[in-house]
Symmetry: C2
Subunit: 180 residues, 2 copies
């Protein structure tokens, strides 16, 4: 199961393009409302999460977590003990972690990016403690995938597809949405 | 005011990237729930619309309408008397119309694309009655902007921004989301 965390002030495209791409690839995705069941994005779009953070069971079915950016969504995610605990779980159990825009800062603050190459929204580089800042819009290093911002949200979603399903499926989904 | 129509089965990224981009550009955007107040996209994401179709006043504040694709969202949009009426209003009053993926077919069926260059999702070309099919992912011809699919949803949103705010604002928003 892939869990995508939605907190009030989340960047809508950064959160929903990954859900969209992963569900196109037939992956099981659960959106988790960190600040309640209905979560309102930074551009005032209210989305109903599949479950709330209180309902989340942290454990063996957790293949990947996705942390969207946006403000104050990123701060609300970081303040959540559930989000902190799932990051700890994923690191300890070698599960995929995706983070885009401001959200890689959450990983930086936890020391998870030490020795990794990563990217983030311009101005957040200093928050990526221990990371080397890469130049690509989306970067995969080990089990951590980071991306720069909303402009590459679809590419970020496609990279998450590639991580869990392989490059062939990634290319199929890319073809199906007529990227080029 | 810009009205974005959401019907059950709408393609989430195609609908919400335009809302996101237009609101970044400080445009007033209202989402209209064609099939109720909470509308569920083709990838099972429930979004709360700002108003329902029954609450929509068709009239002078209507600067632009946006029709997302997705299935069966496109069919649900086309079946709506409100959507049909707003298209008629926009054509009669020279207002902007944006449509992406399968949704340009709604315009084709109404004869609105006669003599226009337009694009759509692969396989829907024959539904664009009277149009010349262009090769670009996003095409503006007069007051009609069409786009190919979810892979260009952000570009479609940026083109809508350019239409109502001008190229300079379009480039500013493009820069702010770190497209390149």
């Amino acid at each position: 199961m892939i869990y995508v965390f939605l907190a009030n002030g989340f960047e809508e495209v950064e959160a929903l393009a990954p859900v969209d791409m992963l569900r196109r690839a037939k992956q099981e995705v659960t959106t988790v409302g960190v600040t309640g069941k209905i979560v309102t994005g930074s551009h005032h779009i209210p989305v109903t999460a599949d479950i709330t953070a209180e309902e989340l069971q942290i454990g063996g079915d957790m293949d990947m977590i996705v942390l969207p950016g946006g403000m104050p969504g990123t701060l609300n995610e970081e303040a959540s003990p559930v989000v902190q605990a799932v990051i700890d779980y994923c690191v300890a159990n070698d599960r995929w972690i995706g983070a885009i825009c401001a959200a890689p800062s959450i990983l930086g603050h936890k020391g998870v990016l030490n020795g990794k190459t990563a990217t983030c929204y311009t101005g957040f580089e200093k928050e990526l403690t221990g990371a080397e800042i890469g130049s690509d819009g989306v970067i995969r290093d080990g089990k951590i995938i980071t991306a720069r911002g909303a402009g590459v949200a679809v590419d970020f979603g496609l990279e998450l597809v590639g991580a869990v399903c392989g490059r062939e499926t990634q290319q199929q989904i890319r073809g199906s949405i007529l990227c080029d």
